[in-house]
Amino acid sequence: MKAAGHVSWGGGGQIEAAQRIAARAAEAGLPLQLHLPNLPPLAEEGEARRLARKPREENPEYEWRGDPYLQVMDPAVVCDLLRWLREQCGFVQLYDLSAVDPAADAPELWVVYGLLNLAEKVRLELRLGLNKEHLSVPSVVAVHQAADWHEREAAEMFGIVFEGHPDPRALLLPEDWDGFPLRKDYEFPDQYQGISCT
């Protein structure tokens, strides 16, 4: 029995799994870079340090808490990478695929792939930076069918083009919707088809 209310940081062995996969990827020559969180849980943080913690804009040091992730350095290899993770490392399920716009003035969007290994019971997060000037990434539907609707959603919400998607229609929004709502620079419309939105 674990300690009362144990929070498994990194989702139970997630940090070890990310380290292991990063080492294997380096051996196989795949462009993955490991990022580990460097802030401890709040309970382990000293009181003085907690008080000294400042919002990001006042805190130039990159300190963060949460899950580890593997940064994909080259968008072109993402299909091969997922296939390799599936066949060699047992990450058989793509449980989530989404994108994040960190800030309106940020040069890049992130595409986040969440992978699950059912046998070893671990998750893995892959993150891909996409320059906002050129939002294009290969579709991974050929590797994981689960990506089908997730990619359609990310495409209409962020304006990312998933090259080679078999059915790139809009999913949740009308086909004629203007703009990409989940982008930070999105401007809310005044009207849609003559219907006031304000």
Binding site: M1, K2, A4, G5, H6, V7, S8, W9, G11, G12, P37, L39, P40, P41, L42, A43, E44, R53, K54, P55, R56, N59, Y62, E63, W64, R65, G66, D67, Y69, V92, Q93, L94, Y95, D96, S98, V100, D101, P102, A103, V112, G114, L118, K121, R123, E125, H144, Q145, A146, D148, W149, H150, M157, A170, L171, L172, L173, P174, P181, L182, K184
Partner: protein
């Protein structure tokens, strides 16, 4: 298509060759947006060759309310009521999923009593949700009685929720740091009394719905989803377990106090047809209710008095910069929240990985080859809530 399916008999029927000489045309049928079997507002475009479906296409978006965008515009705690509204049949579980994600970013956890109460509430909500799922599934297949009997017992759970938090459907009761309040006096005893009552009544549902000859004929061997397909399509919850995959986040990636509780993970076994058919998914839901009874009883036994809210969580919180994914086992499958914080009081990103969304994406691929009348059986067996697929 399995050999016992009526469509298979159709294609083998003598005289088929003669029929082929007649010019035929595929028929397009719009099922929904206003159709009781779509459990919300959703449109399925069906293509039928006579009685046999040759294609299906799902059209979503009728209930899209930009929950993820709202998450980037309100405070971390202000977002909580929006979580109630993705899957309004199990709002307690949604509250829990979001709260655990925020707690992970904050780096703290709820007190032990709150954790036990959270498990009790989410398991009671699972019973209510599965009751509704089995009841409305009966309705989809043309039987009215199961829904009314299911609502009778679901009402008792909703009454319990009303007493603890004042709301019957959208609770916002489980929140980052713990709970809004402790259980009122006598509430836990009433939960125990409900479990005793429901344990007896469960057999009524079993004989009324699941052992019903018509129900078996309508669901066995219909919409068969293989284990490989289920994993590849990102299915989770009863949809994945119905296909025989042994996976339950409560056991395999335990959160809260689930690692102290004993329960079985129910899997589909092809009890009446083949593994992964519509019957197996209902079978899993039925037995998950009995497991929920076991879980709640253990919680009632193990929990002790204590605080129910972590005082570290104030009304305005600023989680440290970072990103965290937190997935929990909702009645419909894995509800995931991918939260990104930049250290301010408003989230950078609130991504909701909705279980019905992923489970529904496979349904249109199960339909081709089955009978037109089975379309409602297949969609109903996925147990979607459109509020969640569209968010």
């Amino acid at each position: 298509m399995s050999s016992s399916h009526p469509a298979a008999a159709y294609s083998r029927a003598p005289g088929r060759e003669i029929e082929l000489d007649v010019a035929t045309q595929d028929c397009q049928i719009h099922m929904g947006p206003q159709h009781p079997a779509t459990h919300g507002v959703m449109r399925v475009l069906l293509k039928a060759d006579g009685e046999v479906l040759s294609g299906a296409q799902t059209h979503l978006g009728y209930l899209h309310r930009s929950a993820e965008k709202i998450g980037e515009m309100v405070d971390w705690l202000q977002y909580l009521p929006y979580t109630d509204r993705y899957d309004y049949l199990c709002a307690m579980n949604n509250n829990l999923g979001y709260s655990l994600g925020v707690e992970k970013l904050l780096g703290l956890e709820a007190p032990e009593r709150a954790q036990y109460l959270r498990v009790i509430l989410s398991e009671l909500n699972r019973i209510a949700s599965h009751l509704f799922a089995v009841g409305t599934y009966g309705l989809d297949l043309g039987a009215f009685t199961p829904l009314f009997t299911a609502l009778r017992d679901r009402e008792i759970v909703l009454d319990l929720f009303e007493r603890i938090c004042g709301a019957r459907l959208t609770y916002s009761f489980i929140r980052p740091g713990g709970l809004w309040n402790d259980a009122p006096e006598g509430w836990l005893e009433d939960v125990a009394a409900f479990l005793d009552l429901f344990e007896k009544r469960w057999h009524e549902y079993w004989t009324l719905v699941v052992e019903n000859r018509i129900f078996i004929e309508r669901t066995a061997d219909v919409g068969v989803l293989s284990a490989e397909q289920a994993i590849d399509w990102g299915c989770s919850g009863p949809m994945l377990r119905g296909s025989g995959v042994d996976w339950d986040l409560r056991r395999d990636q335990p959160y809260q106090v689930y690692d102290r509780l004993e329960f079985e993970v129910v899997k589909g076994s092809g009890y009446r047809g083949s593994v992964g058919d519509c019957f197996d998914r209902t079978f899993v839901r039925m037995f998950e209710m009995t497991e929920s009874i076991r879980i709640v009883r253990q919680c009632l036994e193990q929990m002790e008095p204590g605080p129910v809210h972590n005082p570290e969580v104030k009304s305005v919180i600023r989680p440290a910069p970072g990103s965290a994914y937190c997935g929990i086992e909702n009645p419909r499958g894995e509800l995931g929240h991918y939260l990104v914080s930049d250290g301010s009081k408003i989230a950078v990103r609130v991504r909701v990985r909705a279980p019905s969304f992923c489970n529904l994406s496979v349904a249109e691929h199960l339909m081709p080859g089955s009978m037109l009348g089975d379309a409602a059986a297949i969609i109903g067996s996925v147990d979607i809530v459109v509020g969640e697929t569209d968010r």
